[in-house]
Amino acid sequence: MRVSRSELFAGRAVLLVLVAITVLPFISIFTTALHPSGDVPPGLDWPADPQWGNFLEAFRVANMTSLLVSSVFIVLAVVPISLVISTMAGFGIGLLRIPGARWLLLLFIFGLTLPFEGIITPLYFLARSMGILNTRLAIVLPLIGLFMPFAVFWMRAHFVNMPNEISEAARVDGASTWDLFWRIHVPLAMAPIASLGILMSVWAWNQFLLALVLVEDPSQRTMAGALGAFQGHYATDIPLLSAGTIVILLPTLLLFIVFQRQVISALLQGSVKG
């Protein structure tokens, strides 16, 4: 494609402006975090005496160690279970084509459009009657359920495209349905399973509403839920709030930079399939 010099210049200029607009907020929150605690600094100002200690202070008051433990616990509880049961369901609906598969698929797809806040009120009362309110289970169990529409849809899309010959060959060799699933199809499905795992980890880590409503103690919440509580406590101390935001963001940002290719392609495939 031939592109004129002026178009090249104008296009790249627009792009750089957009990149700057995306990055400036991060820079502003960073310089703010370096100002003395309690100040109300200007939007973009490198302080004369950068208070690097703010990050340590935020790490301490946000109870970062227990937060990390809590969030990792929630992700490790939600993601593997969700992966196993959604892969099984995707296999049943997409490959075994069990009777009623169409209806089951529609039932799960319906859940794709459901806003979480639409069912948050009964979830609260359910968790209360199950006695799990204010424990991490109150986030873990509903989150597994809420991930099912997307996860099943995603895995079904993989299995429905698998050629029948593979299964038939295995059947001839006398494999049971479970062998067919576990020994043959799961190894072949590792790529979509990995993408789904990345996606659900990001979503669980960033989940806010469930944490806000179902768990009062921030140290039992997800990262995003804890950040909400942190903002509630330190809304007036802008540098400390900024430092806390960065400390809480850092794990996500680092992971994204390391795994950006996988995260982006997973999120995109996810939405295209959805």
């Binding site: 494609m1 178009e7 296009g11 792009l15 957009l18 990149v19 607009i21 995306t22 907020p25 991060f26 502003s28 929150i29 703010t32 109300v40 200007p42 939007g43 973009l44 049961i85 099984m88 369901a89 049943g92 084509r97 069990i98 799960f108 859940g111 979480f116 806040e117 639409g118 069912i119 948050i120 009120t121 009964p122 979830l123 609260y124 009362f125 169990l141 359920g145 809420l146 099912m148 880590w205 960033n206 806010f208 509403l209 409503v213 995003a224 950040l227 909400g228 903002q231 709030l241 900024s242 935001t245 809480i248 996500t252 940002l253 994204f256 982006i264 995109l268 939405s271 295209v272 959805g274």
Partner: protein, 283 residues
């Protein structure tokens, strides 16, 4: 029969923690209940309140206004940005801008809300930049202003969703046959004619996905508003999610909260289904 055993665990979790609460929401919506004492059946009275009480119905209007910012602008601007990257930045600049623009999509929305709360405050960067270009007269605490709070929340949505739309549309553009562009060039088409008559129509499916995802994000927004404005000032940025939360957990009007929730669920379905039909119809 064995097949059903494979589906059962997922179906049980989905049934227990999504379908059951969904049915309960509908049931609650027919009662007046404070969450503790006995509940009184009131029929459709809660729904009548949803459509007649300004502070409830306004949340629905606000949600639809946010569609402009969360959906229309990111999708349009995303198309333009993707076209620019495709034409003039195929090398490292394209890679870098793609990654950077995508960044807001992976951070928690709560963090986006806090960051922009700072930027849009009286001493924030937005006002500083406005003053620098001679617009000092329009500076204000954007999120606390009755007229500008909703658009200001909308700006946060644009920032979060632009990268997602750009990258998604870019993958669609990569699949368009270059020969189409060549022949358009031979016919003397300019970049805009090319954009309008080749790029956009070829991307119908990707645009459909972008619109679906972003419209749901607009109608079901919660995190950003909760952190940046809490729904205020007054009712200026109250969206259904916020109002459901306030009604159910602060005012203990469980029935009314549930009626609003049902209305929201139905509205999202009503908006999404036609979009899906339009973009997938004969694809």
């Amino acid at each position: 029969m064995v097949g059903w055993l494979f589906v059962a665990p997922a179906l049980v979790m989905y049934g227990l923690f999504v379908l059951q609460p969904l049915v309960l929401t509908v049931q609650y919506s027919l009662y007046r209940w404070d969450g503790v004492g006995p509940a009184t059946f009131v029929g459709l009275a809660n729904y009548a309140d949803v459509v007649s009480e300004p502070r409830l119905i306004e949340t629905l209007f606000n949600a639809f206004r946010l569609v402009i910012f969360f959906s229309l602008i990111p999708v349009t601007l995303g198309l333009v940005t993707a076209a620019i990257i495709q034409r003039v930045a195929r090398g490292w600049l394209g890679t870098v801008s793609r990654t950077v623009l995508f960044l807001p999509q992976v951070i928690p929305l709560v963090a986006a809300g806090i960051i922009w709360g700072r930027l849009l405050s009286l001493q924030g960067l937005v006002n500083e930049l406005l003053t620098a270009i001679g617009l000092g007269g329009v500076t204000r605490a954007w999120l606390g202003d009755f007229d500008f709070a909703l658009p200001a929340v909308g700006v946060i949505g644009i920032w979060v969703l632009l990268g997602f739309c750009t990258v998604l549309l870019l993958t669609g553009m990569a699949k368009v046959d270059p020969a189409l562009y060549e022949s358009a060039r031979l016919d003397g088409a300019g970049w805009f004619a090319e954009f309008r008559s080749i790029t956009v129509p070829s991307l119908r499916y990707e645009v459909g996905v972008c619109v679906t995802v972003t419209v749901i994000a607009a109608l079901a927004t919660f995190d950003i508003v909760y952190v940046s404005t809490g729904g205020g000032p007054g009712n200026a940025t109250a969206v259904p999610g916020i109002q459901i939360y306030i009604l159910a957990f602060l005012e203990r009007q469980v029935g009314l909260a549930s009626a609003l929730a049902v209305v929201l669920i139905v509205l999202v379905l009503l908006v999404i289904l036609p979009i899906q039909r339009l973009t997938r119809g004969d694809a």
